[in-house]
Symmetry: C3
Subunit: 207 residues, 3 copies
Amino acid sequence: MLLSVLYIIGITAEAMTGALSAGRRNMDWFGVMLVASATAIGGGTVRDILLGHYPLGWVKHPEFLAITCLAGVLTTGLAKWIIKLKGVFIRLDALGLVVFTIIGTNVGLSMGLHPFICVVSGLVTGVFGGLLRDLICRQTPLVLHQELYASISVVAACLYLALLEYGISTLVTTVITLIVGYALRMAAVRFKWRLPSFHLEGEEALH
Amino acid sequence: MLLSVLYIIGITAEAMTGALSAGRRNMDWFGVMLVASATAIGGGTVRDILLGHYPLGWVKHPEFLAITCLAGVLTTGLAKWIIKLKGVFIRLDALGLVVFTIIGTNVGLSMGLHPFICVVSGLVTGVFGGLLRDLICRQTPLVLHQELYASISVVAACLYLALLEYGISTLVTTVITLIVGYALRMAAVRFKWRLPSFHLEGEEALH
Amino acid sequence: MLLSVLYIIGITAEAMTGALSAGRRNMDWFGVMLVASATAIGGGTVRDILLGHYPLGWVKHPEFLAITCLAGVLTTGLAKWIIKLKGVFIRLDALGLVVFTIIGTNVGLSMGLHPFICVVSGLVTGVFGGLLRDLICRQTPLVLHQELYASISVVAACLYLALLEYGISTLVTTVITLIVGYALRMAAVRFKWRLPSFHLEGEEALH
């Protein structure tokens, strides 16, 4: 219930960030709706396809897809206002990351998968929407360069599984994971925490 | 039956446009066959994966894949001739768009899905082949910039569903949808009808 | 058994080549693990999704995914050493191509698919990992330009099916296919065998 409300807020916010990326590529309304939807529900879609978890969420609940299309188109009219609310969106995005991660981890659990695959399921749900957005808009994926993002998803999924393992109730586990994950992400943005990156120079190397 | 014949004409024509894109990227024959097949049958493949509709069309009917590979390789020898027939191909592409859309909408109906998802199923079948072609060939997807294309697919799918809903026979519904969809697409090309597009300037916005 | 050992060597080597590509794009550790895993097990993943062959290999055997992530991260520390071993990696890559192809062909056989689709299954397993790597790293896919690669996969799959058809035991068939496929690939690299490629000049052609 709590997750459902947060999920709808999350996909709306993510759809808006997707629409802004589409706008920077001068796409038409169809492109805006495509990128908005891919950003918001692409992570869950990739997860369900990888796990063979049918029907997909938006096929079962077409209203989710309708929300992301609508949020995308509204963004074309509200772009200036949205950009001014940058701080709000960074918070919504942080919240969305943790919500999506928890939902994805739950899908893995409900299918009886190995804990490692449950974490991957949460991670894919949390970060693949943004990856798809950057792939369609032909940008180098931000998640591979920026402040800790995928790592937060992994930590949140591990924490969630560990708390459940210790017998804590699902509700309490969910709330703790939301708070810790959100706080970590905001701290990562604030203090510019990054993973080490791997630089390799010029030479053609193996290929 | 009518749809089967039109489908084979459609995938052949689309495979040829895919092969031409591969040629502009100097790909080898394997690349040509890959892009030709992705363009022609990629839309139906993405649809079936999203809907969990197995086995895929070309796995059940390998001859469709053989046709697209062959059409791709033939195009390498016939390119100059094909480019001169530009007008024919624009017509075949318009026809293919509507045929693919109707087939996709039918798949949704046969699975008992919500009408909105049936329209999405038709849309994905109609336009994702071209999206895949442009993604592999690293072009900004044309469908997101050009004259009405995805919109025609949506209109055709809605018309098809509406006519069936009003109790009109499948054959008559199919013929009417083909004529109206084809006419709309040709009009869109002729009069350069476009969706409004969304321009966003420089600033980094949310990311 | 033989294939299992070779498979693990193959995914380790492919993960390392993927990690090097990620390094040339200055990705962080998450990106390195993503590209390493996509390169190593992406081909099998795409194959299983196309064929509806669930659960995916790495969902059933999470240790394969753990190996590719680990190999990716180790590569960031060992890059200079790995690049000096270029010759070894070209051999491992050739071996991996044939091993992946045989495994993919076997999946098709085990599902009772048409021989043409079994060959496609082997081909997808053999070459799509590299395609995914180049797509994520935004390079024009090497497999579409370089010395014979996909063609070797097709030849190996056909040879494998033909030998089995003639009643030769699976073990002997596997060993012969490995030797012939490996020798052909190394010869293709040595003598720069290429498929004809398709060049098309400037004009916008059909779109």
